[in-house]
């Protein structure tokens, strides 16, 4: 099983300006639902979201950088 690289726009510029309802949906699409392998395989800049955490992703570029992801 492979992962899907998530384009940068989803986690940086757009995430900062998405309206609240859309973010709620994106949260569920990325963070909930059945995972057959027991692990999240989407990666951002090579870091699996299972380690990054969607809440970190959606909080914007500054917070992501604080967590050591170079974007």
């Amino acid at each position: 099983m492979a992962g899907v690289p998530l384009r940068r726009d989803v986690v940086t510029e757009q995430a900062a300006t998405l309206d609240v309802p859309l973010v709620e949906l994106v949260d569920r699409l990325l963070n909930r639902g059945v995972v057959l392998t027991g692990e999240v395989t989407i990666s951002v800049a090579g870091v699996d979201l299972i380690y990054l955490g969607l809440s970190v992703v959606l909080s914007g570029v500054d917070t992501i950088r604080q967590h050591g992801v170079d974007i």
Binding site: A2, V4, D9, V34
Partner: protein, 222 residues
């Protein structure tokens, strides 16, 4: 060509979404519905929302468990092998969740949050720095307490059993409460009215209800 998993359905429903152009990979009790996916293709907002549209289309036809976006399998055999490991659990979840839907209830702060540490100018003295941090921390705690009170109010008024509702407080700066409710379709209208009434009683937040969606929050992975 790889496969991007969209949803899990009962094996008997594997063909119900054939008109959506999905490939079905069946086990004895459950089946995975997937789309062809170019390995290495990057995903953005359009692909995320397309995943939601496909899942919703399946959900409108047959009971299903939505797959978390991003699960790509090399071929049908790889998906079938993973499915076989979880088949009993997935079949049980389909019975428990498949005929129910998820409603998202979100309370967003009407007033913007206090400036974050990253956006305010540096303090000139150590004392000023600490006082500013203390003020900000007190503001955050006050918001958390208010969000907890909102949750308590909503839970006391919404006639939903505890196992069918989940919530988070202050998951993001703009959001006080993010709640997910698992309901049957015949309960949607009543819940919508109830949320609208409760939202009108909360002057400091804007309350929005979304859905019905496939039960993303309640489909567990382990």
């Amino acid at each position: 060509m790889s496969l991007l998993l969209r949803a899990i359905v009962a094996a008997g429903d594997a063909g119900a979404a054939a008109d959506l152009g999905l490939r079905s990979v069946s086990g004895t009790r459950a089946a995975g519905l997937a789309s062809a996916w170019d390995t290495g293709r990057a995903a953005g907002e359009a692909e995320l929302l397309d995943h939601h549209r496909v899942v919703q289309a399946v959900f409108e036809r047959v009971p299903c468990l939505p797959a978390r976006f991003g699960s790509v399998f090399g071929d049908e055999e790889a998906l079938r092998a993973r499915l076989a490991l979880r088949e009993a659990d997935l079949a049980a979840q389909l019975i428990r969740l498949g005929h129910r839907c998820e409603l998202a209830i979100t309370c967003a702060w009407r007033e913007p949050d206090a400036p974050t540490r990253a956006t305010i100018a540096p303090a000139r003295t150590g004392r000023a720095y600490l006082e500013r941090g203390l003020t900000q921390m007190r503001g955050e705690r006050a918001r958390e307490r208010r969000a907890e009170a909102i949750v308590a109010h909503l839970l006391s008024e919404l006639a939903i059993e505890p196992a069918c509702i989940q919530h988070r407080i202050c998951p993001r700066p703009a959001v006080a409460v993010s709640m997910s409710a698992l309901v049957t379709r015949d309960a949607i209208d009543e819940l919508r009215k109830c949320v609208a009434r409760l939202g009108a009683q909360l002057p400091d937040v804007t309350t929005v209800m979304q859905g019905p969606w496939a039960p993303y929050t309640f489909a567990v992975s382990e």
